[in-house]
């Protein structure tokens, strides 16, 4: 497995069930620590995850995870993958720790190591006190954490999380997102999160792939987008003297900023590299201009998503 290779490399991937084309000619390489899969219901998010996991055979093209082909090297790949399914999934009649231990052993861990890991991950996800309870007695929120525990028990390099915050109350949702961010920041595992909740994806992903009707509607690098947003400013001004406003505009243009005038009191500016907000404030002081409001451009994931969902006629 090559760590330098993209986490996911889609090469014309297509999946068809009967006459229904579920995924169609997906292409692209994604290397972020946490990749979000977004899309409306039926867009193909879960099908894409299931195909990458080897549950469905591609009918066209292929895909590679860390440079390994999902069809030819499926078994080897699944040793390195953790999967948290969307719906309830467990083995009935056994305690939580036993369930996670079994899953770790099936992934290849020796029995003693599997038992140790099972206890560790139970404490990690915050279910330590409930680890000896029968899994059927767990609440919905606990079952979500249990699914995460079994997915990380064997220390995978790639983690597929399908709707991880489904059915969680706000505190449980925050806890789940915190855990996902922690795993991402540990650098031990790359994460792919499939969700229809924009907020969740925005909070824990660096790259986002938006699917619509089985095709890639858009791809967005959220880190880059956030960085770019920091360069776009919107300023509300009030001038202390006549001509101060135009003087201020000229001053910041002199710094290399691109400036657009919205009206007499509002301007928009794009900061060039090397110019910071403090330089804008310094110019304002020099030109006797008071900055009433300074705001960064906020292109949210929602804007990106809605734009991607728009049809040719501009309708959603």
């Amino acid at each position: 497995m090559s760590e330098a290779a993209p986490v996911i490399d889609l090469d014309g991937l297509g999946v068809r069930f009967g006459r229904h084309q579920v995924l169609d000619d997906l292409r692209g390489a994604f290397s972020g620590r946490a990749i979000g899969l977004l899309g409306p219901n039926g867009a193909g998010k879960t099908t894409l995850l299931n195909t990458l996991l080897g549950f469905y055979r591609p009918t066209a093209g292929t895909a590679r995870l860390f440079g390994m082909d999902i069809t030819a090297q499926g078994r080897e790949l699944r040793r390195r993958v953790g999967y948290m399914p969307e719906r309830d999934a467990f083995i009935a009649g056994i305690s939580g720790v036993r369930f996670v231990r079994l899953m770790a052993e099936v992934s290849g861990l020796p029995p003693e190591a599997a038992l140790e890991r099972a206890h560790e991950v139970f404490f990690y996800v915050g279910l330590g006190e409930a680890r000896y309870r029968n899994v059927e007695t767990y609440s919905l929120g606990m079952k979500q954490l249990l699914k995460l525990a079994q997915a990380i028990a064997h220390g995978p390099s790639l983690l597929f999380l399908d709707e991880p915050t489904n059915g969680l109350d706000p505190p449980a949702r925050l806890r789940m997102l915190r855990l996902i961010r922690e795993i991402r920041d540990s650098g031990k595992a790359r994460i792919v999160v499939s969700s229809h909740l924009l907020r969740d994806v925005e909070e824990c992903c660096e790259e986002v792939l938006v699917l619509n009707r089985g095709r890639i509607a858009t791809y967005c690098n959220l880190t880059e987008e956030r960085r770019a947003n920091r360069r776009f400013l919107e300023l509300d001004l009030t001038a202390e003297r006549e001509g101060a406003g135009s003087g201020f505009r000229a001053a910041i243009e002199g710094l290399g900023c691109e400036v657009a005038v919205v009206n007499r009191r509002r301007i928009k500016a794009v900061l060039p590299p090397g110019v910071e907000v403090r330089h804008i404030y310094a110019s304002a002081i020099e030109q006797d201009v008071t900055i009433l409001r300074l705001d960064y451009k906020r292109t949210s994931l929602e804007d990106i998503f809605l734009q991607a969902m728009e049809g040719d006629d501009g309708r959603l």
Partner: protein, 290 residues
């Protein structure tokens, strides 16, 4: 990692061989089966008959012990003839009936709960194939059935061989491999349909009822066909007729059922293949609705 260190940790330790991975499923399956005290008691009861036969074999060669219970050794020698018939009918036939109950009780619990609770994606997202999964479950039934059929059978055979001497061994050597072959064929012909039905209905009681129903229906239809058309063809769908014919074929004896050997083998192979195909079709991560 100490329990106070709650940070996320990867795993860099050793891994087990991928080839024996299915045995993890078998090990857990067996542990769950023996967690039931009722089953444990029944399983212990399954050894009662081999012990009785062992006792009879011992007494047959021990005049002192016979004298203690006021029995004449000549009477017992006539009564307990330890030969092919002894192992085929007195031992194996009885044990196979008990093994049928074991399969009926244990079989459905092995797969139906996994499918009902959507555990398949969890298994199959790991380095485990559908074949590994089925094999793992089959091994559970294989161990249980073997433990009460051919394994004690071979033990009895070995004891009798040591008591009866080389002459008896030369005369009856075929008994040992025959017990193993009949038990294994029977295991496949009973376990695969049981697992297949359990995988399709996903509910233990229904799976048991359907399995019993299938056997009884087959028997009724087969008997009716045999009586009405006076033909052995009806035996093809009677599980116990097929078992008898197979057993007679393997042990080299005259069976009670008038059925060609080839037909019996064909019926067994068809049943096992069809069941395996049905089971394999059901054991998958997700159903695809086309």
């Amino acid at each position: 990692m100490a329990v106070y260190d709650h940070g996320y940790k990867g795993y860099d330790g050793p891994l087990m061989s991928a080839r024996s991975r299915f045995l993890v499923i078998s090990r857990y399956g067996l542990r769950e089966v023996f967690a039931s005290r009722l089953f444990l008691a029944f399983f212990a009861f399954c050894f009662a008959w081999p012990l009785v036969l062992l006792g009879a074999m011992y007494l047959r060669y021990n005049a002192e012990a016979l004298a203690l219970i006021n029995l004449d050794s000549a009477d017992l020698l006539d009564f307990v003839q330890v030969n092919t018939w002894f192992f085929q009918n007195l031992f194996l036939r009885v044990q196979l009936y008990l093994a049928f109950i074991v399969v009926l009780v244990v079989g459905p619990s092995l797969v139906s709960a996994d499918l009902r609770n959507r555990a398949m994606p969890l298994y199959l997202s790991r380095p485990l194939t559908r074949t590994d999964y089925v094999l793992g479950k089959l091994v559970v039934l294989g161990v249980l059935v073997s433990a009460i059929t051919w394994a004690p059978g071979l033990l009895l055979f070995a004891i009798q061989a040591s008591l009866g001497g080389s002459e008896w061994l030369l005369e009856n050597w075929r008994v040992a491999p025959s017990m193993v072959v009949v038990s294994v064929v029977w295991l496949l012909c009973m376990s695969l349909p049981m697992l297949a039905i359990a995988a399709w209905v996903k509910w233990k009681p229904w799976a048991r009822i359907l399995f019993m129903g299938a056997i009884l229906t087959g028997t009724a239809c087969g008997q009716f066909y045999k009586e009405f058309y006076d033909s052995w063809l009806g035996s093809m769908v009677v599980a116990f007729d097929v078992t008898d014919a197979l057993s007679a074929s393997v042990f080299g004896t005259q069976g009670a059922v008038q059925m060609p050997e080839t037909a019996a083998w064909l019926a067994a192979a068809a049943l096992a293949s069809l069941s395996a195909a049905l089971l394999y079709r059901r054991v998958r991560a997700f159903e695809v609705v086309k």
